[in-house]
Subunit: 311 residues, 2 copies
């Protein structure tokens, strides 16, 4: 069984930042990441609000963070899935699909997964017209007609990105206003191949081999109509990846987000959480970074007990 | 009297980030900065732990943030000093040495000032051998003997920076261990022109026109000795720039740091604080960024009351 000072679950902005601070504090630090390092931010076509970069693609920004982290000596195990945590004793145990690790402290930075709509056709056509990531799958829809479902920043960013690739984009939103940065909404209004269908819900996704139709309902009148479409990009929020933490008795809120205090502590000593998986109200790269720093410095204090710890 | 949606006091990492998010949310945003935009981080010779940049000088990083902020349309008034806040009414008023501004929300991101030692000679020789910023004044001491007082990250970073310029550096620290990142301490140990005087206090700074001597005391034995020295760099922490906030009834803790909750709210509605001036336990560029984001989005919610505000 390998021994570590600090194990971080998740290599997104929060986890990578915690890694940078952990290793610079002298902690032997391992990050375990289910997919490729980079996290959800790597899926963003463009990021214009991370201080220091006027405009950078999510994947480029996250590659920089990964390189910085590895360059400092953090070990990042990609494509390894943490399946269980034992946090009861002072020495904590992280079990993955590949091994078992002992550690003095754990930071949970496992982020969120794309939330599904739960409508008929969504599961059947996933990967055959239904997508949750514009950057990943947008290029497959060149010259075609796509739909983006949602009304937050992610939906608007996805629509803007797709508008450059596809022939037309319809945004389906069940409210009559976006919950998105005004700068993004303004950019949207300047695109003549994007149309917003307000007060509209997607009820079903239809097709043969591939998606070819969306069934829509007017939220106010209940009226149903069908629209010919080649792709559906679902951008309706996230659900926290907090299952294994919850099973190990880490407290979560009513939506499953891990409860943390201002020092990123959970209810279990030596266990911290940072980034989108927490109940912090803001989910941005910059806030994940701030939380990753705080979590790592707190873990350092917990492990090494320097004279100022607890002050 | 000029009208604004959001006024931010201070153009350091927290204030500039709040500006980026404020203006991108559609708020008419003004930053008032006493000195040059950039804040304390701009004084850092090198920053290696801000995610996205493996190694960058503080001034270069902060110039990027300033440019990004201005590019998005934030107005930054430099060399303007906020002297009083009136936060009692819904419309808040910020009074400076140059004008009076009305605003719907205020973010206090005024940071900290260098803490003084309070020893004889310190005030008299300020600017004549006594300095609080290695990057600002280090080049004046090329080939000379300097002393750094302190034991935290700032002291170690300053010593490392000066070691490249001067002939010898003595670090005077009243404890027997640093409160600094291990990576920094390791780098220090590799320098043969840096000597650490543990358990030692600086008692007095002497000189004629310029500094030429330091009077030191052994903390354990009380023994006093004099050391010939050309410069003294004081790096013993900060005091929060919270005076005008306090005078406007913003709550501060026992050290004068502004009390904030997890959403960066102070005790006064519509008034937020972010960065080093707050009572958040961690003072890093990355944490200031995270707090600036949260404060700006909270101010946006307070001003515009979108349907999801308060959720």
């Amino acid at each position: 069984m390998e021994n570590w000072d600090l194990i971080i679950v998740g290599a997104g902005a929060a986890g990578l930042t915690a890694g940078i601070y952990g290793v610079r504090s002298g902690l032997k630090t391992l990050i375990i990441e289910e997919k490729m390092a980079g996290g959800r931010a790597a899926d963003a076509p463009v990021i214009e609000n991370y201080p220091g970069f006027e405009r950078i693609s999510g994947s480029e920004l996250m590659q920089k963070m990964v390189a910085q982290c590895r360059g400092l000596g953090v070990v990042i195990n990609e494509f390894e899935n943490a399946v269980a945590l034992d946090l009861k004793s002072e020495e904590k145990v992280v079990k993955t699909n590949k091994g078992i690790y002992r550690t003095k402290a754990v930071i949970i930075a496992s982020g969120t997964s794309y939330r599904e709509l739960g409508v008929p056709g969504e599961k059947e056509f996933r990967g055959r017209g239904v997508s949750y990531c514009g950057v990943c799958d947008g290029p497959l829809f060149k010259g075609k007609r796509v739909m983006v479902v949602g009304g937050g920043n992610a939906a608007v960013i996805t629509a803007l990105y797709l508008a450059e690739l596809v022939s037309e984009v319809k945004i389906v939103h069940r409210r009559n206003a976006f919950r998105a940065e005004e700068a993004l909404v303004k950019a949207l209004m300047g695109k003549n191949n994007i149309e917003v269908l307000w007060n509209t819900e997607l009820k079903e996704i239809k097709g043969e081999k591939l998606v070819n139709k969306a069934v829509l309902a007017d939220v106010q009148t209940g009226e149903i109509r069908e629209l010919s479409i080649d792709g559906v990009f679902v951008q309706v929020g996230e659900t926290p990846n907090s299952q294994i933490a919850k099973e190990a008795s880490v407290e979560v809120d009513e939506h499953g987000y891990i409860k943390v205090d201002v020092r990123q502590r959970t209810n279990i000593p030596g266990v911290y959480a940072a980034g989108d998986v927490t109940n912090h109200p803001v989910k941005q790269v910059g806030t994940a970074v701030g939380q990753g720093i705080t979590a790592a410095l707190e873990a350092y204090g917990f492990i090494r007990r320097p004279y100022y710890y607890g002050q």
